[in-house]
Symmetry: C2
Subunit: 421 residues, 2 copies
């Protein structure tokens, strides 16, 4: 067989594998969306139930604001960008969720501070002294605007965004965190990550807002990269505001899935900015490094928490395998491969995707399990809860379906910038 | 063999088993105390390190106020009530811990609100909007008074106690919890439990204070018993302040180890009050019921959390086996047996003690592991951390040694009020 023929055959085989994954991912997306459409809509008050058992049975009717915002965002995104999800039922549920948020999310208007969790009918139960409820509120409003064209949603999104930026960069006092003499000024990686995600969201196909938030986007990227510590050998969840390692467990804490998620946020940012050197840096430090340190060599899957000095983490769930680090890793590696053509990244996508589909997927009732033991056994049978809603799984499946489609529509499987063909 | 002879032989065998456990427990207590004495003392600032790895290695130097207070209490108690622990090194460390608390625990004196965690040199890092730091502060001060005879410690204890009672029964506003419209008025069982424990502590051999807190003790007992719900078929961690079941996960939450701990607090209270009917009720509802619902039939050990309707709990660690529910169960069953003579309670003591010594004990380095997987494998190798210090293990061992000694010093192994001899 000639070299050229063998290369063509390899390429064909690769296309078939990509095609098979595209179908697998697309079918799974349908099943997952069906699960949430069937079980999570509150027809009476609007918004979404997320405390759902294995078969979708409701076990609590509290409404977590993060998860309300995320589901609104997800439904709008699917409605707007996938022909087969351009269904009135999705749009209506998203709008009802958005109206629920507009009416009830803020604890004491005109303050923009949102509750963390509400009763089914919208009364506040708990407030967190962080920015995350407000971030997902912003994502929901921006995507509602893009989907419906109603300007009031965009106004809401931008006003909330500006408030969040004020809390993060100017004055956090309204969040209510006490100033304590022994508490270091910590930057959790989640903060610049979420802000960067919002910058991408609000600036999408909107030159005005992209310009408005351009400096913020660069600031976020710099701040995220400050979490790469120890001469590039570790990604740390928490650093000081000036980018130094903090002492103790807090400073040594690692969360491989979170690093991978930050990785694809950054990769997307630098792809848009066209910076090849930083893209390679992100792949090395926020994709490959956390993956190789975080992957369990005995049972597969990504650990939830690790300690940079290999002490035992104090989080009881440190060795559990959670769904979202795996969905984020799938996105990260497929995005890395789509951009660079490095076959090692495609191989890692397949490795993570195989583990994920084998271990988290529930062939019987749809949607994924969220929480496995270290050994990969289902530890919690719930499909949704206080921190798991209609978000990471369908976002991963939708993004992977799109990226796989884009790869397949190229003349060759991928541009081979580096690697071994 | 005559019936009388067989009964005598059975009794002798029982005494031998009790004697063997007394020795096993006593030796273990020595090893556990040695671990903390060797690794936890901060010679520079006073107080105790509790973030200790398997072999005692320090992995963080934060000082958790709960754990400072508990270790002071434990050391004083051992010094005061065990001849072999009447050692200057224990007393000195307890006093240094007490002085550390006096100097640094309160965040903003003259307010009595204490921090949850301090830096090594005493600067506040976090404050919880609950009463528990203050409760363990009170225990430490009262026991320091009993051990040293210095009146200023008792003054501290009583003043803090009165402040806690004010927060619980009169006005909680200083704790800083926001009043939210959707948040039910919850009573976590921990609150009346801790208060009852303090009533017993402060009133011990002190008629004046016993009298002062007598009504409070009865109030606590009533409040704890309100957590027995569903016609006596379930102990619920959280109920409304007027003793009704709350909706959702919060209302259905169960914690078998916590119920067993509340059980022996109540049992001790009703033994002191001489109420046989309530003692039998406590044994049925707070010892046997949570044990039988909470014991894992597949792998042994007590689950950490359960849902009263058998939904899957949302706590990621719900199926893990923690050290303290097992130490509390050992105390509860041995106390129940000592009081009632019911051989079934002695059998359960043996069952729990065997599991506990097999699974949690570390024959190599002393002190127990704290966190096992559902299957009983060590999940966290730490011996101490933010929530595990020198308290539950030595308290259990010291109390069991005393109770076993008391049983053995009786003419017969135990008064057989009910049961099958």
């Amino acid at each position: 067989m000639s070299k050229a023929l063998r290369a063509r055959q390899d390429m064909e085989k690769e296309r078939e594998t990509l095609q098979a994954w595209k179908e697998r991912v697309g079918q799974e997306l349908d099943r997952v969306v069906a699960f949430w459409m069937e079980h999570s809509h509150d027809q009476e008050h609007g918004g979404f139930f997320t405390c759902l058992g294995r078969d979708g049975q409701l076990y609590d009717d509290l409404k977590y604001v993060w998860l309300q915002g995320r589901q609104v965002w997800m439904y709008c995104r699917l409605y707007r960008t996938f022909e087969r999800f351009h269904r009135a039922q999705l749009l209506d549920a998203a709008k009802a969720g958005g109206e629920f948020l507009l009416r009830y999310a803020r604890v004491a208007p005109p303050s923009k501070k949102c509750a963390f969790v509400l009763t089914r009918d919208g009364r506040p139960v708990k407030v967190q002294r962080t920015i995350f409820s407000e971030c997902f509120y912003t994502m929901a409003m921006d995507e509602l605007w893009r989907t419906t064209g109603e300007a009031r949603y965009q106004t809401e999104a931008v006003e909330m965004m500006d408030q969040i930026v004020h809390w993060v960069r100017e004055d956090a006092s309204e969040l209510g965190r006490p100033q304590l003499q022994g508490a270091p000024a910590v930057e959790p990686m989640a903060v610049p990550m979420m802000l960067l995600n919002l910058v991408e969201q609000l600036g999408e196909a909107d030159e005005g807002l992209a310009g408005k938030y351009a400096e913020l986007g660069d600031w976020c990227a710099r701040r995220i990269l400050q979490h790469v510590q120890r001469d590039g050998q570790a990604v740390l969840e928490n650093v000081s505001e000036d980018g130094k390692e903090l002492s103790g467990c807090l400073g040594r804490q690692q969360n491989p899935g979170h690093a991978l998620e930050a990785g694809w946020f950054l990769l997307r940012h630098f792809i848009r900015k066209g910076d090849p050197e930083l893209r390679a840096h992100v792949v090395d430090k926020l994709l490959l490094l956390p993956f190789h340190s975080g992957w369990d060599p005995d049972h597969g899957g990504l650990f939830y928490f690790q300690d940079a000095d290999d002490f035992c983490p104090t989080q009881l769930e440190w060795a559990m395998k959670l769904w979202w680090p795996h969905s984020e890793a799938m996105i990260a590696f497929l995005m890395g491969y789509s951009d660079s053509g490095d076959p090692e990244l495609l191989r890692l996508f397949y490795q993570v995707a195989e583990y994920t589909f084998c271990q988290f997927r529930d062939p019987e009732y749809g949607e994924w399990f969220g929480y496995l033991s270290r050994e990969g056994k289902v530890a919690l049978t719930i499909k949704g809860g206080p921190f798991k809603g209609c978000f990471h799984v369908p976002r991963c499946l939708a993004m992977c379906e799109e990226m796989l489609g884009a790869l397949l529509s190229r003349p060759a499987p991928a541009p081979a910038r580096r690697g071994a063909e």
